[in-house]
Amino acid sequence: MTKRWMEVFMAKGLLIIDKERCKGCGLCIAACPHQVLAFSGELNRSGYNVVHAERPEACVGCAFCALTCPDVAIEVYRARVPA
């Protein structure tokens, strides 16, 4: 129970990646301090190998990836830490 609570409520991040904006440059992969991101192998309509969260559970919501993305393809959300 405690563990489950921790998983849900630790200042955890969640990403929404706009696949059609992603150009597969890989800069976000390099910018992430927690090795969350990786190429998915899936090609978008422009033929780019788009990025996805390979280890979403490790995301802390720091938004370094989004700050780095030249195509503004990443939105970042963070869980509210319970009072």
Binding site: G61, A66, Y77, A79
Partner: protein, 252 residues
């Protein structure tokens, strides 16, 4: 599976001042990061209704498509002169010129220097990627000694082509400019620093302080023939040795 963000706080999203248009830049090109930073600055200062962007000739020629503010596309090198005209005609507008190194520091040299020397109350963003990106990677005045470009296939030889020009240092010699700084975007810290510098350059104009120039060392992975991550490393390890980062003048 659709994700639910109901119980979450948005910590990063697309700035409201950006349109939905997709950038025409190559993968990993720093022009995109810079465009997002400028849009975010316009959001934070709440000035989208009175901002006018001046787009250059170069890869950023379509800059007028990215922002929800008004914009003019200037002829090659003349963005600082067009910015001068707009600002003088209506000083209530917030005017920024966005110019590459070929635009700002080569064909536009005269207009760039004299706008700075007159201390026009404008904000200039100077994107130094050491090549003419749009036309296929020719040598720019900022190209490094030994840099291979399509017009210097054996590397830039100073005996034939001169040395890389430190344009911001030249402008910093003038009496009128308020703020001249050189920034970069090769890692998260530099992106945050550059964001602060750009906000300051816009704020100076809002406060009527005068001319601000933010030079940004950018990558051109396509014409440098490097992966975007290698291009970042190249800026950090090589380019900053020739073009040191930091404020050159701050009379704000």
């Amino acid at each position: 599976m659709p994700v639910s963000t109901e119980k979450m706080v948005k910590v990063f999203g697309r700035p409201a001042s950006l349109t939905e248009a997709r950038f025409t830049y190559c993968p990993g090109c720093h022009h995109g990061i810079l465009t997002r930073i400028i849009a975010q600055t316009i959001d934070e200062l709440g000035i989208v209704e009175r901002t006018v962007g001046i787009a250059p000739v170069g890869c950023a020629v379509f800059a007028y498509l990215w922002y929800r503010c008004d914009a003019i596309q200037a002829s090659h090198g003349r963005a600082s002169a067009v910015a001068t005209g707009v600002k003088r005609a209506n000083p209530n507008l917030i005017v920024f010129a966005y110019q590459g190194d070929g635009d700002f520091a080569s064909i536009g040299t005269a207009e760039s220097i004299h706008a700075a020397n007159r201390g026009e109350n404008i904000t200039v963003i100077f994107v130094n990627n050491q090549v003419y990106g749009m036309t296929g990677g020719e040598m720019a005045p900022t190209s490094l000694v030994g840099q291979k470009t399509t017009t210097t296939p054996d590397g830039r030889d100073p005996a034939l082509f001169g040395y890389p020009i430190r344009f911001s240092e030249m402008i910093a010699q003038l009496d009128a400019p308020v703020y001249v700084t050189r920034q970069a975007l090769y890692d998260t810290k530099r992106i945050m620093d550059a964001t602060k510098a750009i906000k300051k350059a816009f704020t100076n104009q809002l406060e009527g302080k005068g001319y601000s120039l933010v030079e940004v060392l950018a990558t051109c992975p396509t014409n440098w023939r490097m992966k975007p991550t290698e291009a970042n490393k190249h800026v950090a390890e090589v380019v900053t040795k020739v073009f040191p980062l930091g404020d050159l003048i701050d009379r704000g």
